[in-house]
Subunit: 657 residues, 2 copies
């Protein structure tokens, strides 16, 4: 009776859980028995991962059951049509300890407003650091509640172990979409009668693909989750770095998956470089070495760059050859205001392990290419291209990486960091080859604050960096041995619809009249960013005028309240919305932003002061060995499998065999 | 002195003209001497075109000159480093007559408000139906005002004359962007833990490209101009069909360029099919045969389908084998309210030339595949997929193609029209091969009215049509002899940013509270369009529920005032804005649209009641012979050159030689 009742209940629960949308009990677990990695997971042969099993017993809400959380659940693995064997036997592990916890969630916004959470009791186990070596299909079965089953089909891809590229460079334009590339091209490259006289470097790549960026359990991703998919071949949940999200409170016990950096180092001794214009503990660089359900664990992220994972036996990790970015506050000691892991001075920690430590562009240029190098160039995110090159007084802020509150005036750009990273990696890696991730982080950060000009400046800097990288590899005779990818981790809903006569807009008295300054179709005209002004750049393509009378009529689909002038913000990055009531987080248009512009009500929840990510597939530009693997349309995880295959990282048996 | 003064003036004028943006004196002519085709034009060897020369003498405004419009201008052509010869000699033509006219324009919005137009006197000539046969660079020089020169460099591409494909099918999703494809995939294809269980047909194409859609003289295009670029290899101006825009008032005297359909018919006797869900005189189908500066000349467009160009000697044209679409009002006689060319009954005109004429899907299915066929299925644009398949009572409108004001209930969809078109083309073309253009027109039309659901329905119907087309070609053993392209002509700034709890939104009392119904990132959840509901379709992928509680948080960047509920419009296509003062064209949110939704102020000029096109590069999916020519990033005109090369349409000498 118990069994039948349980089955009947589960039938109802499934239908109910399927409607959970704004909130979910647990992302990739619609039933009451959870297996992570879940159904449909793909694996690289030999890739390390953890298995997490959970059985949920909701005690109230629409899924309420009178069952106690099952402590007797079992778990088996079957390869192909083979027979199912206990996971302990399959992996040669002893049975892990049973864990217990509970958590709560809201079934929808009405339940949230009524403050009626649903409580769930949980029993759980974790199998740590296992791997599947034989390509093919596996069936992982959790049996619980006296016969209920959650079945996960896993796929180990059949990839050649032969290495086809010596090096991989992946450039990530955070939040970069095709729409943004089109806009950047328009402001920086001249047309004559509809023909571009120069091209973006990306436009010259032989292979174009699109990757789908959605999460495992939601259709909009964040940068942690999307970077994890690109680096591990496993999609996960928003805020996760290199783990599947379980329901426990501990942000460090979630089931891990091994990253491309970890695999490359462990299996080949290859050298790794990490470069970003963000604070370096930010999600996109962090996802190469960190494994946590909470991307906000910045101190632990920085520790993982240096020491790898230390709370569990995991992969071998020796630290990157290069780590360049911002985010000094996670390095300098708490005495100076730093917020570091276990209160340590991470400049010292890196130095203790043999790293040269540098804090500005002059030191970067002078640095030895033979040593492992930590370069931290500012507190928080690094300065934007537009401020470093055009509106330079905006650098006058107390952001020195030393932590002494002096200014960080001598910051390198993405190009300078990337070229030095290449110097070091080429010098140090020898025959082993290298993997370099270089991120233009502030395309995303500036789109979030609706600062379109700065975002496009960052995108153009990325393109310029790719161009300089190709030239350098050609000089070093490494171009044919290096797979170069340029892609993004997700989009923002951005586009350009025409031009704005900013002079006319400013001269009108009402918002409705100001709207007449917008020119669409035949009134959009040509780009005045490139046809007027006299700014020039050596061997690079950037606008000759960032402040023309006729600007781009550009923007995002989803915004907070804001005031639009469609003019460059000369005083530094934009702050479109401010809280009218700090406690309530009730954001309104910033009265100090966009003076004389059109006041526009937003569509986002009023507690949001920024734009948000979007669904669109993002472009992938590929050149070099294996480039053909990156054409057409595919899932974000296929970027991982493509890189891993090209580097020959699949392993049909444990190393040492 | 006259000469020097003139040169000095021109220097100033150039700088001034370069700032013309919202309005332009004449698009592709920034100087006072105009050559069309202009500088940087590319040509297919042997492609017919007209040459238009103009000399402008502005009599007021910032460009005012005391010069009379030059009547003694000269024009030469030089091939490569060869000497320049008079165009009459080069082409073996007698000197054309001098023409004279004037026109006016506004220098900017202030001049418009002040009603101060700038007047320009013009002298002009036209050289009709010429061609360049030898590949390479040409210099075309207009000399005017006693020594001023406008120099145009022309390029005749060096393409093999060998034919590589028997057939070409180009599908155009009007206004379709990558972002929309991503959204359509989300509502119609199921994911399990982040992996799609089925794919869009487009996602399966081996080759992906991006094409740049901008106009010759503005960065936002319309569908006339962009279709002309795709079909002729020549970018032009908004509203132009197969011509460069001159400054004369006559919409039929502008310099023409031969289209892919015309070339294919003239040079190979190949068979042509034209299919669209729009009224068939709309820009995308029209641009295959019409040559006019004004896309609004619908009657003349319809005549051009049948009779080609009749006001000048032009190419040979025999009419398409297939012409399927809406727009009956340009066919039935004026006695029934038709608005036809020269008052004729175009059903009769087509019948007189041997066409079978059909008016509904039943007749379409029953029609002979051996005859040329005209199929006109409704007045105006055809019914949308969502109304034909889900909200069928919306078909109850007096739109019968007969013109008798009965209802057009039995309309085919794009798939039915395209498959029948293939039947006819395959049967009739024999060894000659065929060229078919099939347009999903209402992706664009529904995005214009912010009706996201209907737009995505049209996109899914396009994908289903492509799928059925491939299956049919495979059945007919023609798949390997047919180049298939799926692309767009321009974008709309659209994206999806999350989900909306429509039940919660409706239950809130203020717009600011309603905004809390929006779920972004981890609150976006999974697609309830495919995970709920019970709508099913035979062998096709469409949503199982168009009206779930949790909908897509989707939209455009540039809008009129409107009210958003993010719910399907069950009563037919949306009308987001209405005029509050018909004379003033002052549009406000339609009080009858989006009841209970959030009122949002637009950013577009208040005389706009619709969304507008955007800048973004649009995707190109290619399979079949020559598919490799369509990967990477390129200009829209390269689609023409790719198709023409694949069909072997370049000619090194005049036919008959």
């Amino acid at each position: 009776m118990q069994l039948h009742k349980s089955i009947g209940l589960v039938g109802v629960l499934l239908a109910s859980a399927a409607t959970a949308q704004t909130f979910q009990r647990l992302g990739a677990c619609p039933t009451l028995g959870c297996v992570f990695p879940p159904d449909q997971a793909d694996f690289l042969a030999g890739q390390y991962f953890d298995i997490r099993l959970e059985v949920h017993a909701p005690i109230n809400g629409s899924e309420a059951t009178s069952l106690m959380p099952d402590e007797e659940f079992t778990f088996t693995i079957a390869k192909g049509n083979g027979s199912a064997v206990a996971a302990t036997e399959y992996f040669g592990l002893s049975e892990p300890e049973l864990e217990r916890w509970n958590f709560s969630w809201y079934e929808d916004l009405f339940a949230r407003d009524a403050k009626k959470p649903s409580i769930v009791n949980v029993t759980a186990k974790a199998y740590r650091r296992v791997a599947l070596y034989e390509p093919g299909e596996y069936t992982a079965t959790l049996t619980y509640n006296s016969g209920e089953k959650t079945v996960a089909t896993w796929f180990v891809r059949d990839l050649a172990e032969e290495r086809k590229t010596k090096n991989v460079i992946i450039f990530i334009g955070d939040g970069m979409t095709t729409n943004m590339i089109t806009a950047a091209r328009l402001i920086a490259h001249k047309t004559v009668n509809g023909k571009y006289m120069t091209k973006m470097q990306m436009d010259k790549f032989p292979i174009l693909g699109h990757q789908m960026t959605h999460s495992i359990d939601t259709f909009i991703t964040d940068s942690a989750n999307s970077a994890s998919a690109l680096y591990t071949g496993h999609k996960s949940t928003v805020n996760c770095l290199g783990v599947y999200a379980d329901s426990s409170k501990d942000p460090f016990d979630d089931p891990k998956v091994e990253t491309i950096a970890e695999l490359f180092h462990r299996l080949t001794g290859g050298h790794v470089g990490i470069v970003s214009t963000a604070y370096i503990a930010d999600a996109t660089p962090a996802a190469l070495t960190a494994h946590t359900r909470d991307r906000g664990q910045y101190g632990a992220v920085v520790d993982s760059f240096l020491n790898g994972i230390t709370n569990y036996t995991w992969t071998s990790w020796g630290g990157p050859d290069v780590l360049f970015g911002g985010g000094a506050e996670q390095f300098y000691s708490p005495e100076l205001g730093g917020e570091t892991y276990m209160g340590k001075d991470y400049y010292q920690e890196f130095a203790n392990k043999g790293y040269q430590v540098i804090w500005n562009n002059t030191a970067l240029q002078a640095a030895s290419s033979e040593e492992k190098t930590l370069g931290i160039f500012s507190v928080s995110n690094m300065a934007k291209w537009l401020d470093r090159n055009v509106y330079k007084t905006n650098l006058n802020q107390s952001l020195s990486p030393s932590g002494d509150e002096s200014m960080a005036l001598d910051q390198p750009g993405l190009k300078e960091m990337t070229l030095k990273a290449l110097d070091i990696l080429i010098k140090r890696s020898g025959d082993k080859g290298f993997f370099l991730m270089s991120e233009a982080a502030s395309i995303d950060k500036m789109m979030h604050v609706l600062d379109y000009d700065r975002a496009l400046g960052e995108l153009l800097e990325l393109d310029d960096t790719v161009k300089a990288t190709i030239a350098k590899l050609e000089d070093e005779c490494l171009l044919k041995e290096t797979l170069i990818l340029v892609t993004a981790d997700h989009g923002h809903g951005f586009d350009v619809m025409g031009s704005v006569d900013t002079k006319y807009l400013a001269a009108q008295n009402t918002d409705r009249k100001k709207r007449d300054a917008v020119g669409t179709y035949q009134r959009s005209g040509l780009s005045q960013y490139i046809n007027t002004g006299n700014l020039t750049y050596t061997d690079s393509n950037f606008p000759s005028n960032w402040d023309p009378r006729y600007t781009l009529f550009q923007g995002l689909m989803a915004d907070p309240d804001r005031r639009e002038t469609w003019s460059v913000r000369k005083d530094g990055p934009r702050e479109p919305a401010v809280a009218q009531d700090e406690e309530e987080e009730d954001f309104i248009a910033n009265p100090e932003d966009g003076e004389g512009g059109i006041l526009l009500n937003g569509t986002l929840p009023i507690e949001d002061d920024q734009g948000v990510h979007s669904l669109t597939d993002v472009p992938v530009f590929a050149m070099g060995p294996c480039q053909e693997k990156f054409g057409g349309v595919y899932n974000s995880i296929d970027i991982f499998f493509g890189m891993a295959e090209c580097l020959g990282l699949a392993r049909g048996k444990p190393s040492g065999y």
